[in-house]
């Protein structure tokens, strides 16, 4: 039997640009229900993304990117990410992420009434994901 092509079409699109377009054999990401890995011929699925790292396994190697908020549509041969923000590790400013992390932690610790806890938590999560992707 001939070797079957294991690659599928992968697209990552943000409002500013087409972030990634190519063929991949596997993609891993974090959805709101937990981490997921997708191969070719996955059942059709639409799920909402949580801030996290996307790992794209290409024939040539692995690629990492940080993604915050959005959703993903999985069809057997094609996977499309619609992300609000997506960044490659070399686009991330580690210093700024570190500062944002410190700020968010400070706000969460203060427990004052003006602090929007949900917002601070999202900010903290974003900063952590950015730092994670940098590593």
């Amino acid at each position: 039997m001939a070797e079957e092509n294991k690659n599928f079409q992968l697209e990552i699109i943000t409002p500013d640009r087409v972030f990634y377009k190519g063929e991949a054999s596997m993609v891993e990401f974090t959805s709101v229900d937990g981490e997921m890995g997708v191969y070719k011929h996955h059942i059709p699925l639409t799920t909402v993304l949580a801030p996290g790292i996307v790992t794209v396994t290409e024939p040539g190697g692995k690629k990492f990117a940080a993604i915050h908020a959005g959703f993903v549509q999985i069809l057997g041969e094609k996977v499309t990410f619609l992300a609000e923000i997506a960044e490659w590790p070399d686009e991330i400013d580690a210093g700024r992420a570190q500062a944002a992390k410190a700020r968010a932690e400070e706000r969460l610790r203060s427990h004052s009434a003006e602090v929007d806890v949900a917002r601070a938590e999202i900010a903290l999560k974003k900063a952590l994901v950015r730092l994670d992707a940098k590593r």
């Binding site: 059709p44 639409t46 619609l82």
Partner: protein, 285 residues
């Protein structure tokens, strides 16, 4: 007939105006190119978003989701996108006209305004301005769009408004821009398009469909709104470029007209002087 000095002064002032309009035209040409490429880059995102949401709604059939039904309030929010600066031909007044002619009664409209020029004229006409986000248009980002959408959606879920409209200038190409009024909420889709999108693949949702809709529809609206913002910026610069182009050529025409008049006046004065000298010489001899 105007004196030579008057004509000269007028010509000088038109010339300096022409220099200004020429410079403004160049500036808006550059800005237009930038805005155009941004609009083109945001297009794929918007297209996918539209496809996904249409197919989701097609499969889910008649769901009773709050975003798909008009709220109980008769108030209608109109997000109006115009510009902060004038000298763009009919750009701002067309948007204002679109809102006033839209059939939305004045006392039911709540205007969320972007662009000081349109705000001034709508206020004068007696519309209620609920929010002003004029600074956004200087350099719209997706974050700005998300922020504004959140506020308007918040008002919708609280029941302060029953419907949401978006008034902006659609950028067709460099020379043609079209003021457009779009209904954002409750979402309405073309029946034919819905049928077409109803493909045979069965889609699963995680978390369940309703929650997914809850999360995806705000993103869909934000993307529509962001697209409108980017297009409006492109249209504004396009309109200004055209206005300044015709102003420059009008100035050109006036200058050549005045040059002709000036030369005629000069020739007239020379002829007059000559006649006077000849007459004087004849009187002496």
């Amino acid at each position: 007939m105007a004196s030579m000095r008057d004509i000269k002064r007028r010509k000088g002032s038109i010339q300096s105006t022409q220099q200004i309009t020429k410079a403004m035209k160049l500036v808006s040409t550059v800005k237009l190119q930038k805005a155009k490429s941004r609009a083109e880059q945001s297009n794929p995102y918007f297209n996918y978003m539209y496809q996904t949401v249409t197919s989701m709604l097609a499969r889910s059939g008649n769901m009773s989701h709050p975003y798909l039904q008009a709220g109980s309030s008769s108030k209608k929010a109109v997000i109006t996108i115009a510009s902060n600066r004038g000298l763009a031909g009919g750009y701002n007044s067309n948007i204002v006209k679109l809102v006033t002619d839209s059939g939305i009664p004045k006392d039911e409209a709540k205007i969320y305004i972007i662009g000081r020029k349109a705000r001034e004229s709508l206020e004068r006409k007696g519309y209620e301005i609920t929010g002003d986000y004029s600074d956004v248009i200087e350099g719209p980002t997706y974050g700005d769009a998300a922020q504004i959408c959140k506020e308007v959606l918040g008002a919708f879920t609280k029941g302060e408004i029953g419907e949401i409209y978006l008034a902006y200038t659609h950028f067709k190409n460099t020379v043609s821009h079209e003021p457009t009024l779009m209904k954002l909420l409750p979402i309405e889709f073309d029946e034919a398009e819905l049928k077409e999108a109803d493909s045979n693949t069965l889609m699963n949702y995680e978390p369940n469909e309703e929650e997914a809709l809850d999360l995806i529809i705000p993103k869909y609206l934000t993307s529509l709104f962001y697209g409108a913002l980017v297009e409006a910026v492109a249209s504004e610069n396009g309109a200004r470029m055209q206005a300044m182009d015709s102003a420059t050529s009008n100035a050109e025409e006036m200058i050549s007209d005045l040059t002709l008049k000036y030369n005629r006046a000069r020739q007239g004065s020379i002829t007059q002087e000559l006649t006077e000298i000849i007459a004087g010489a004849e009187a002496i001899s």
